[in-house]
Subunit: 341 residues, 2 copies
DNA sequence: ACTTTCTTTGCAAACGATTGCAGGAATATT
DNA sequence: AATATTCCTGCAATCGTTTGCAAAGAAAGT
């Protein structure tokens, strides 16, 4: 309640009978400043509770040290792990992270892009909405030549750097595994196919079926947002008349868990009568009975890659090399009991 | 690759033959500016790809519109949900969130506080490290009269606003429930008791024991960081010589899950031979077999409260009312099979 | 016609740091 | 003793907005 005043570099300078430039340089550990002066500056700084104004510094040298991140929602295991990695990595480089959520709404995403732009982030890392098909609101970043990196939910065509798990392989290997376990009728529950990662996976699924000369059956394809409620509705359809497929390939673990629980309630034996797989390998898959086969995406590594790429782009940002980097990160099928292993 | 130049308000003014002040006011929708002028400004702004510089604006009116958040780690279900709520709420008020993780290391927390301070956040929301006992690094915020709100991992004595789940009740109700189910030897696995929330819970535990006239047994108290590895080690001790307690009150769900799985492997029936409860009510508790009794903390509401409080503090920030708010949010014991229900 | 009021705009000083350039003092070189 | 070199430090412009004050022109009141 006493000193409401915020001291500036000027006050520090005055207290020492120095100029502001000297103080500034001392604080930035400039080589031309004597050790003794630095020492004295440091003392006064602490005595006065001097608060560095990063805003002013940023304005002057147009470097905000801030990276923006837009994710659909940060509660999902995959997302929060990626963000954890990104934040840790950026911190190593002295960068801060401004985090926003689109809640899977394209309108909010659009608004957030503008906010980030005006906030002078030096780079933007994005996992887009499930429903973003028009990416033109990101144009401002491209035009201003500010690094733009997408991860996981990446655009299909839009010119930008992209880091995506190997969803084609994920879809392929999982399906192939189910086929090898003897299943032929494999129901496929997927998120919106407008989203690249889901369509990639779907391609993998079809490829595996072709290899086993299984005719795809449109009645077994279900496409909707992958939450518990939708999953249970789909189950109602799938198990309607007492008949059901030999396997369900669920697009995420929430869905796979719902399917397993639904089956258990109906007295359907997993994996004997019904094989189930999920995607993302979140912590629930290994504790449910039976444990669920799922696809590990190594989210922490994805995050490290995204942050590292961003840092590289910032270092050589003058370079106008127009070639966009497209990274595919490996996945690993984790086989568990639910698929018959 | 063409227009590297970033246009400023000055360019817009020049293009229109207006002054910068007029343009600034037009952009801020100032009432003294005619509709026609605003219209024309808007057009040129779009044509020139003008990018508002929030840094400069912040510097000028010393409002960064940024709130800082420091959490131990954002992957934990409880944390990511709280943060989700906070970010959504702040967005409603036009504020942005800068997120950092201490990784439960006091040294990093200390550093982050300084970074946030220099970044001119208008307020700081914190869930501290498990091991933070000295909170003096937060003094700079108090001295500068910048709102400081703790949640979940709140300090015991330190003067600041606090939002904490009702851990005393959580500990009490859970223990009482186990006692009512007939258990008398109740092992208690807790995080470091230096952390207020754990000691509050422990008090609740002891209170319930007293009410049932059960003598506390130090051999049943285990205190360590609550991860899977530690939990399994504790199990080794607890079940060493073939004997084991009637119940385990685990300090979080990760620990409870580990205990249940350990018991299952040893052929110990839960809840018949051993009752188990967890804490946080994360999604694993209801899908494991048997489902685990746990304590719902309503993390989304906690986040909303934290953000709302912060917004209130910012509005009446001139007010030097030194009374700190201490909110206790309700919890709910969710009874499931693992405790014998 | 003259004063008053209202609307719309411009001038110029902040905000707090950084940095190129120049200059003074101290030391080394010839 | 004079010059060159090195080491520190200061001056002042700059980053891009915002905003108090003043003023010009139009409209209105008497």
């Amino acid at each position: 309640m006493k000193k409401q005043v915020q001291h500036t570099i000027k006050d520090v300078a005055a207290a020492l009978g120095l100029s502001v430039s000297t103080v500034s340089r001392a604080l930035n550990n400039h080589p031309h400043i004597s050790q003794e002066t630095k020492q004295r500056v440091q003392e006064v700084v602490e005595k006065l509770d001097y608060r560095h104004n990063a805003l002013a510094a940023s304005l002057r040298n147009s470097r905000s040290n801030m990276i923006g991140l837009i994710a659909p929602r940060i509660t999902m295991y995959f997302q929060s792990t990626v963000i954890t990695a990104i934040q840790n990595k950026l911190h190593e480089y002295g960068y801060n992270l401004m985090v926003c959520q689109s809640n899977d709404l394209p309108a909010i995403e659009k608004e957030l892009v503008k906010v980030m732009y005006a906030s002078r982030v030096e780079g933007l890392i994005v996992s887009s909405t499930l429903y973003t098909e028009d990416f033109s609101h990101f144009d401002i970043f491209n035009r201003a030549n500010i690094p733009l990196v997408f991860y996981d939910r990446v655009p299909r065509e839009y010119p930008a750097h992209k880091i995506q798990g190997d969803d084609y392989q994920g879809g392929y290997q999982t399906t192939r595994h189910l086929l090898e376990q003897g299943a032929r009728q494999i129901a496929y529950i997927t998120g919106p196919l407008s989203c690249k990662l889901y369509s990639d996976r779907y391609e993998g699924y079809k490829k595996a079926l072709r290899e086993f000369e299984v005719e795809p059956n449109d009645n077994l394809i279900f496409c909707h947002e992958l939450n518990k409620e939708n999953a249970l509705q789909t189950c109602e359809l799938l198990f309607a008349d007492g008949t059901f497929p030999e396997a369900v390939f669920a697009g995420n673990d929430t869905t796979a868990v719902a399917v397993v629980q639904y089956a258990k309630e109906r007295g359907i034996a997993v994996p004997a009568q019904l094989k189930v797989t999920g995607y993302s390998n979140d912590s629930r898959t290994e504790i449910i009975e039976p444990p669920i086969t799922s696809v590990e995406q190594f989210p922490y590594e994805v995050g490290v890659q995204a942050a590292t790429l961003m840092m590289e782009l910032l270092e050589q940002n003058s370079k106008p090399g127009q070639n966009y980097i497209s990274l595919t990160t490996p996945i690993e099928l984790v086989k568990r009991q639910s698929s018959g292993l």
